[in-house]
């Protein structure tokens, strides 16, 4: 209220009102300035120079100062300023180096008052003295600042910055004689207006040009500067050396900076390139802007607070030829949208996570198992409700503890080490990898490999290597219904294979389902799936097509039976957000072994016979069918890869990607591939699997990845004699001028791979040492050591 009254007094009885609004100018603006009465604004640019009245609802053009027939460069304004004492007085800086003053009180149409043509280069800035009516200051590209007395024809004094172009000049608001100037080379100088011979103080404020500065309206010592280095710095000038008190990092070079009235720590900035928004920063909180105005479509070139005592109105001009009035309460506030979160790992793998309570609540309500299912690591969650946070009323801290043992990633390491990714025919690679996966108990993965092999390798090979003889036979006989066996038929013949058949049956249904919904099955979940000891679903590749309609008839139904079977869980998280099966996947796994059946499962169970008969029919059909081209499946395979990656098993995704190579690569977009590769490589490196990661890098076809191997390929070595680092060449020491690494066998300098015995530290060319050790186990240097190489 008190502030309001001040505003009112300042305005001589009227209260400042208005709304967020904008008006179109005819040309891009370079600068704006506000009249003392806060009711008019002047806009200047290369081909515009107008005064607008700010009314309640709109801007109204009041005066066009660009008069005359011919456009003159004197009117091409780089800057404009309105005198804060005299409502009739304006000054402009022209791009051709002329400083012009304008007197609105002149009766004629041409308001041009005086013309100063003293600067040789573009004048970047003009500034009136805050209290003195006749003093004008200008700063130019030619490196000079000039002080004009408007009662005289030419400048009173000239200040030479002794450095490059002047970008901004500003009179101090509090100190009568002081002004600050900023330079293209990063310097800021303080001058006493009475002493043109040299500056009072100079310091380097920014790296690169300092585009702008602004004195704090209340605090006499504070000066804000903004530079090309994307920083806004606040300097305390009262101390002996200018001290940086605040620093705000923005995202683009800072073209203008203006302190916000009545808010001690707020300032507004706009940028010169790329970023079009105006930000208001609280300098104490330098990472997130307090407010953001996003109205402009091109860079903002001029900003001004409408009234020196009113913090809520901001005016801006832009290259997009608009003049805007922004209301602070309409600003978007990034802070509101930001989700303050913290995440930290403990020494033993515990994970602490803090966030706004509201966030945590909604998050967990929606997806109860997200965290747990995605990661192979299981978390226990403890909620610590009352965790105090500065500025945040309610936030929650969760600590996730790792269950001992469950975090073991040995399967990952083993898999990574044992997988074969290249160098053999595809079929062998797949077989090998399937075997590896199976041995590690990851049957799901093993099956996937087998499937891939079936999809992509020639059909002849399939039956021979597979366990499933019955089907193999079927295919060789080629009789249409010969294998229309049902559960009972199978039981005697194949003994324990009832289950196999069942699993086959559901794999069928599953495939079909997936096919119709264009997603993929399979899930790398490390748990047991009984069907998987037999590669029962190797057939699924053949079947698809004609089955669709059967199952499309009743997708609901097909889906509901899933829980009954072993494999279905795979497809499960993909298609449905665990809507109707509250128990998590863990339960599903258990269920296969235990007789416990939930309600929905029971329903599904009743459908079994029908289902299996379907599958049988399909099998017979399949056997007829000629093979579909592998291309047919590529969409499927891609989905599968995505699925694996989403499940957190990026290893599988990348391995398959490498093994299949060209066959699938084109179907997955570069970025995703790159993302997988980087995640996998990152994981590998965390497990110190350098060789594997290097192999992956090498085999990757993504350019961004393969160039990883080209970065930082320097190996730093120290000289074996003087222990100093060898800088220029790896095999010769600059200091002791000796060749550091001689081969003990051939006595030449080793420039490539150097191996040496850690016992006697003799060594040499890898090849030579290997050859030597074939014949003798003693050191080739003759030191008598029995060398050991690992």
């Amino acid at each position: 209220m008190e502030k309001m009254s001040r505003v009112t007094t300042a305005l001589g009885g009227s209260v400042l009102t208005g709304r967020t609004m904008h008006c179109h100018l005819d040309a891009p603006a370079n600068a704006i300035s506000v009249c003392r009465d806060a009711a008019q604004v002047v806009v200047a640019g290369r081909s515009i120079f107008k005064i607008y009245a700010i009314e309640e609802e709109q801007f109204v053009e009041k005066l066009n100062l660009r008069v005359g027939r011919k456009p003159s460069l004197n009117l091409s304004c780089a800057d404009v300023v309105w005198h804060q004492m005299d409502e009739n007085l304006l000054a402009t800086a022209a791009t051709n180096g002329v400083v012009v003053t304008w007197n609105l009180g002149r009766p004629s149409r041409n308001k041009q008052d005086q013309l100063f043509t003293e600067h040789k280069r573009t004048v970047n800035k003009v500034c009136f003295h805050p209290t003195e009516a006749h003093v004008l200051l200008s700063g130019s590209q030619d490196g000079f600042m000039k002080c004009f007395d408007l009662r005289r024809k030419d400048s009173v004094s000239t200040f030479s910055g002794q450095s490059e172009s002047v970008r901004d000049v500003q009179f101090s608001i509090r100190d009568y004689f002081t002004f600050a100037s900023t330079f293209e080379n990063g310097n800021v100088q303080l001058w006493d207006i009475r002493r043109p011979d040299r500056c009072e103080r100079m310091f380097t404020a920014h790296n690169g040009p300092v585009f702008c500065c602004d004195w704090h309206p209340e605090d006499r010592g504070w000066l804000a500067t903004g530079g090309r280095d994307k920083m806004v710095k606040v300097w305390d000038m009262t101390t002996h050396r200018a001290k940086e008190v605040h620093c705000v990092q923005t995202i683009a070079s800072v073209a203008r900076v203006k302190w916000r009235p009545e808010c001690r720590h707020h300032l507004a900035t706009c940028s010169m390139m790329v970023d079009h928004n105006i930000y208001v920063w609280d300098v104490r909180r330098p990472f997130v802007p307090a407010a953001m105005f996003e109205e402009h479509r091109d860079v903002t070139t001029g900003i001004a607070w409408r009234h020196p005592h009113d913090p809520s109105f901001l005016l801006s001009g832009s290259k997009d030829s608009t003049l805007c009035q922004h209301l602070f309460r309409d600003a978007s506030q990034p802070v509101e949208r930001a989700n303050p979160e913290g995440l930290c790992y403990g020494l033993f793998g515990d994970l602490a996570f803090a966030a706004k309570e509201s966030l945590v609540a909604t998050e967990s309500g929606r997806k109860p198992y997200t965290g747990d299912r995605r990661h192979p690591i299981f978390f226990k969650r403890k909620l610590d409700p009352a965790e105090p946070f500065a500025g945040l009323a309610s936030s929650a801290l969760s600590v996730f503890e790792m269950e001992p043992g469950s975090g073991s990633m040995s399967w990952f390491v083993d898999t990574a080490e044992r997988y074969a990714l290249a160098g053999r025919p595809l079929a062998e690679l797949c077989d090998h990898n399937a075997k590896v996966a199976r041995e590690l108990g990851r049957n799901q993965v093993a099956q996937t490999w087998t499937m891939l092999r079936i999809i992509y390798c020639s059909p002849g090979l399939v039956p021979a290597t597979n366990l499933n003889h019955s089907v193999g036979k079927g295919s060789s006989c080629g009789l249409p219904l010969m294998n229309s066996f049902n559960l009972k038929d199978m039981a005697p013949g194949l003994g324990s294979e009832t289950r196999l058949d069942r699993s086959k049956g559901d794999t069928r249904s599953d495939t079909v389902l997936l096919d119709s919904s264009a997603t993929l099955i399979t899930n790398e979940d490390n748990e047991e799936t009984e069907g998987s000891d037999v590669p029962a679903d190797y057939l699924l590749g053949d079947v698809e097509g004609e089955e669709d309609e059967l199952y499309l008839l009743d997708p609901e139904h097909a889906h509901s039976e899933e829980p009954e079977y072993v494999l279905p869980q795979e497809a499960f998280p993909l298609r449905h957000e665990i809507v109707d099966t509250p128990p998590g996947p863990e339960h599903l796994q258990d269920k296969a072994d235990s007789p416990h059946v939930s309600g929905s499962e029971a329903d599904a169970a009743s459908l079994v016979p029908m289902d299996s008969s379907f599958s049988l029919i399909s099998v017979s059909h399949a056997l007829y069918d000629s093979r579909l081209p592998p291309d047919f499946f590529s969409a499927l395979v891609c989905d599968m890869l995505r699925f694996y990656a989403e499940q957190g098993d990026v290893q599988m995704a990348v391995s398959v990607l490498i093994v299949l190579g060209e066959r699938v690569r084109k179907d997955i977009d570069e970025q995703t591939q790159e993302h997988w590769y980087t995640s996998y490589i990152d994981l590998l490196q965390r497990f110190c699997l350098w060789n594997v990661s290097n192999q992956v890098v090498k085999l990757s076809t993504s350019r961004a990845i393969s160039c990883l191997n080209q970065a930082s390929t320097t190996l730093h070595v120290n000289c074996s004699h003087c222990k100093r680092p060898m800088s220029s060449r790896g095999w010769i020491c600059d200091r002791c001028h000796r060749c550091a690494s001689m081969c003990a066998v051939c006595h030449h300098v080793v420039k490539g791979l150097f191996v040496w015995c850690q016992g006697c530290s003799h060594g040499g060319h890898l090849q030579h040492i290997m050859k030597w050790l074939e014949g003798s186990s003693h050191c080739p240097a003759g030191c008598g050591h029995l060398c050991e190489y690992s």
């Binding site: 891009p28 290369r46 011919k70 456009p71 003159s72 460069l73 004197n74 091409s76 780089a78 022209a94 791009t95 051709n96 180096g97 043509t117 600067h119 040789k120 280069r121 573009t122 590209q141 293209e184 690169g208 040009p209 585009f211 090309r228 683009a252 070079s253 073209a255 010169m272 390139m273 790329v274 079009h276 479509r297 091109d298 860079v299 570069e670 350019r703 160039c707 080209q710 970065a711 220029s728 060449r729 095999w731 010769i732 600059d734 001028h737 000796r738 060749c739 300098v749």
Partner: protein
Amino acid sequence: MAEGENEVRWDGLCSRDSTTRETALENIRQIILRKTECLRPPYRPSDGLSNAVSLDGLNKLLAHLLMLSKRCPFEDVREKSEFILKSVQELGIRIPRPLGHGPSRFIPEKEILQVGSEDAQMHTLFADSFAALGRLDNITLVMVFHPQYLESFLKTQHYLLQMDGPLPLHYRHYIGIMAAARHQCSYLVNLHVNDFLHVGGDPKWLNGLENAPQKLQNLGELNKVLAHRPWLITKEHIEGLLKAEEHSWSLAELVHAVVLLTHYHSLASFTFGCGISPEIHCDGGHTFRPPSVSNYCFCDITNGNHSVDEMQVNSAGNVSVSDSFFEVEALMEKMRQLQECRDEEEASQEEMASRFEIEKRESMFVFSSDDEEATPARDVSRHFEDTSYGYKDFSRHGMHVPTFRVQDYCWEDHGYSLVNRLYPDVGQLIDEKFHIAYNLTYNTMAMHKDVDTSMLRRAIWNYIHCMFGIRYDDYDYGEINQLLDRSFKVYIKTVVCTPEKVTKRMYDSFWRQFKHSEKVHVNLLLIEARMQAELLYALRAITRYMT
């Protein structure tokens, strides 16, 4: 196996350690001797083909040695390679000898710094350059007139070609080749073909742009426009490159490519502007023919200035000493006058505006009368398409391009920010280079000392920008007319716009009394101003695309 053993490793020579260099040289000597071994008689005709191959290989080695003996910054290497060459010669094998007259065809060899007589600072520069590239190219040897600039230049070039950047190494060299080929600069093309192969580029690409990946082919258009008519670049060009399905460029890659293109366009200008000779170890830089056969070389013939010609020019220059003396005096007088009467005589606004237009229009008609066709030594034309597309003056051909106003888009405020945002650190390096080039002065003019040349330098700089339609509001273009005479304008215009047409006559006929180092200085201004002009247009288009 034998091949592997005979593989010559030159990198050892780049070491700063003399022992390493010695070892490396000894190695080379042995290899060469081994090679000569199998070439020596008795000559078996059945080996004809393999002999020819190995002779070819040997000749390459010898040429490289020759280069080292002349251009290695390390004295020991120079001596030793010369020694090896001698000993080879004693075995009865023809050794190569350098052709031409030192690093530049325009500048007498004696004017140019001899390798070995450089001071400590230059030696460091040389050694750095040699260590990075394994050679000391002729450009470096000419630029070393201005070591301060050279340092920044080498740093930038090294960063562009070898350090972190969004483009793979072979792409960078290939883009360099593309850019140089636009100006038929066989010198740069040769250099970068070697580098391109060295970093593992696919030799197939060198058969022409159509053999390169689609992505690079897409860049061809930008290359063409940028080299000859940068003012025609629009955001549609940029969009076309950035949105080309799987062949699209990323913004960062594009900025890298643009910087490379502009760098090599202007470097081609320098190469022609200073008449850089082919490298000794490249084609056309040496000959195996004994000196008696002919006294001049291929490249001299094509440019119509063999040694005899040069003598004549020199004598002509001597005759007109007094003439050209007045030239300098007059120029200085003009500068003085301009300085003094600037405040008094105030040209009207229209006058100023029209002066720019006049200068711009006039620059179109400034063209050399002699339209000789320089024949490129290597067939460079296959690296680019549409050979007919050249620098076209805007107004003369009826197209009117709106003047580019530097006050609205300048390097310091806008270009720098954009480059540094998309290709970190490079903005800084180029910015430094521009600054050094623009501010470089020794306060001398020909025989005069303590002259403020800023006015002259600014006139040159702005004249070049004026040719590209870039206008400075705060500049009186009348000054250009006062300060730059016609022959100088012809030279500037030719170097900047059609560098392949530069002749020694043009080089000699401007500023006759000035030193060669000053003419090289002019060239530095030319190439930097050109690079900035091209960059400004390209970056403005990118900015427009982004907003």
